[in-house]
């Protein structure tokens, strides 16, 4: 798992991850590259991350993946990410095609629901919490 200030260099990350595990005898490598769309007049999205909980979340996923003979990788941007650049890349290496396709889906959806990352629209220099697109994490409401 790696965090970068500002947009991700998708080419560099793809090439490095492939180099790391091209010789590890996996049969399928599936990266998911998230790109900031231009919509609603935004200039960028911006992200806060709580790294200690994210790291634990990721380590649990890595354990799940290894239990299925696979591995996962993840990179995310911190701070502002302009439209048409990349904020998020996750990936799966697996011996089998089916495991790889199922795992990338579960990993990306699990990430959306429970990775401790907060998103803001950047418009006219202002940073506005993307509340309507955000999801309460598992266990939300405990203290209410």
């Amino acid at each position: 798992m790696e965090l970068h200030n500002g947009p991700l260099d998708a080419n560099e990350i793809f090439g490095r991850w492939l180099d790391e595990d091209m010789q590890s005898n996996y049969g399928a490598f599936i990266p998911f590259v998230g790109i900031i769309r231009s919509e609603d007049g935004i200039d960028a999205l911006s992200f806060d991350i709580y790294e200690p909980v994210l790291k634990k979340w990721f380590d649990e996923w890595q354990e799940k993946a290894v239990g299925r003979g696979a591995i996962v990788k993840m990179a995310h941007a911190i701070g502002d990410v302009p439209v048409h650049t990349s904020s998020y890349i996750s990936a799966v290496f697996s011996p089998q095609r089916r495991v790889a396709l199922e795992l990338i889906d579960e990993f990306v959806e699990g990430f959306k629901a429970n990775a401790p990352i907060w998103k803001y629209d950047v418009k006219d220099g202002k940073r506005i919490y993307a509340e309507d697109r955000s999801t309460p994490m598992d266990g939300a409401g405990l203290l209410s």
Partner: protein
């Protein structure tokens, strides 16, 4: 004393309090009107591990984190 941190968009400075369980923390935070719209949507971590039980016992120096709704990616 334990420390309570408010993450991401909550935008509230950390506070310290006496509390022996998470139920105590809940009771104290409910008195804070600035958190009224947040508590029912927020999850909780104790020393960076997610927790789900109000009876969780706290000890001196513990860190309780309040995590609002997320949207990574």
């Amino acid at each position: 004393m334990i420390r309570v941190e408010f993450l991401g968009p909550i935008g509230k400075a950390p506070i310290e309090m006496e509390a022996s369980t998470l139920a105590d923390v809940s009771a104290k935070l409910k008195e804070d009107t600035s958190l009224a719209t947040w508590l029912d949507k927020c999850a909780v971590a104790l020393n960076d591990t997610m927790v789900n039980d109000l009876a969780t016992v706290l000890k001196d120096g513990d860190k309780v984190s309040i995590l609002p709704p997320v949207c990574g990616g």
